[in-house]
């Protein structure tokens, strides 16, 4: 399993995460990222750039939960073998009106002690899959200076 935050230079305020597939032919985690700020965050924007699709019919779930979990509240059942290399896809929807709820998949709370999970939930190897994910978030907690 391979998922890590990329810190290769200025990211223009995006959190950049690299994710790779593997040769495991049962459902399995592709990696988990701990909350990078240690405080409650609200994910309000996200994109996936596919570098290479998997060779087999693997599917990808992305979401927030316990480490290693099959979380699907940001993306569910992405049929990544059909995605084109170098294409960019929305992960957080961007079509909500003013005063609409900013809830999954149009925004998502990332609690301080939870993980951003990437999971192939079908029994097919995800070999060759490689992608970058980009996230914007709000530090959504209370005012720490208040009594």
């Amino acid at each position: 399993m391979t998922a890590h935050i990329v810190s290769d230079g200025p990211q223009s305020k995006w959190m950049k995460v690299h994710v790779k597939g593997n040769t495991t032919a049962v459902a399995n985690s592709l990696g988990s990222i701990a909350n990078p700020e240690g405080v409650a965050l609200h994910i309000n924007e996200a994109y996936m750039k596919v570098i290479a699709p998997p060779a087999g019919a693997a599917d990808l779930d992305v979401g927030i939960g316990a480490t290693g979990a099959d979380s699907s509240d940001l993306a569910s059942d992405l049929q990544i073998d059909g995605y084109a290399a170098d294409e960019i896809y929305y992960i957080v929807s961007n079509n909500s009106a003013s005063q609409a709820a900013a809830t999954t998949p149009q925004g998502l709370l990332w609690a301080a002690d939870t993980y951003l999970n990437f999971y192939n939930h079908v029994a097919v190897a995800s070999t060759a899959f490689e992608a970058y994910f980009y996230f914007h978030y709000i530090r959504i907690g209370d005012d720490l200076t208040r009594a």
Partner: protein, 148 residues
Amino acid sequence: MTAYIVEDGPQSGWLKVYVAGVTTAGGACTLGSIANPEGVALHISDGYLKTVIDADAAATLDIGIGVTGADSTNLCSAYDINGAAHEAVIYIVGKDAASEAAATSPKGLLWAANTYLNFYNPAAQISSPWEGYLYLKYVRIGEDLTAA
């Protein structure tokens, strides 16, 4: 009236404003106003409201830009803060605009240099104990100050 900019640490590029309801009975009233923080024309491009606790009575919330203390509604109009779920986050700036669409209220809003971000309860109901945070992103939208 209580509305102020929160500066409790890194805000990941967001302007964070705390707002609370009041016990003023029987009429509409301001919940606070925030002066333009940069002193130049801004274009609000993103905005979210998080309710911490809802109001006990049927108060509502207007948010917008105008003179200080005004009932401005060009970002949010009559949002039901009595029925708002605790910890709920809603869009304030609409994101339902296509490429080449106008980025105007409520899908973007000019915040002129000498104007205020206003929070107002337009209903004849007490707004306490409602509390929330508003998060905004903006573009400094003015002209090139180095241009002749």
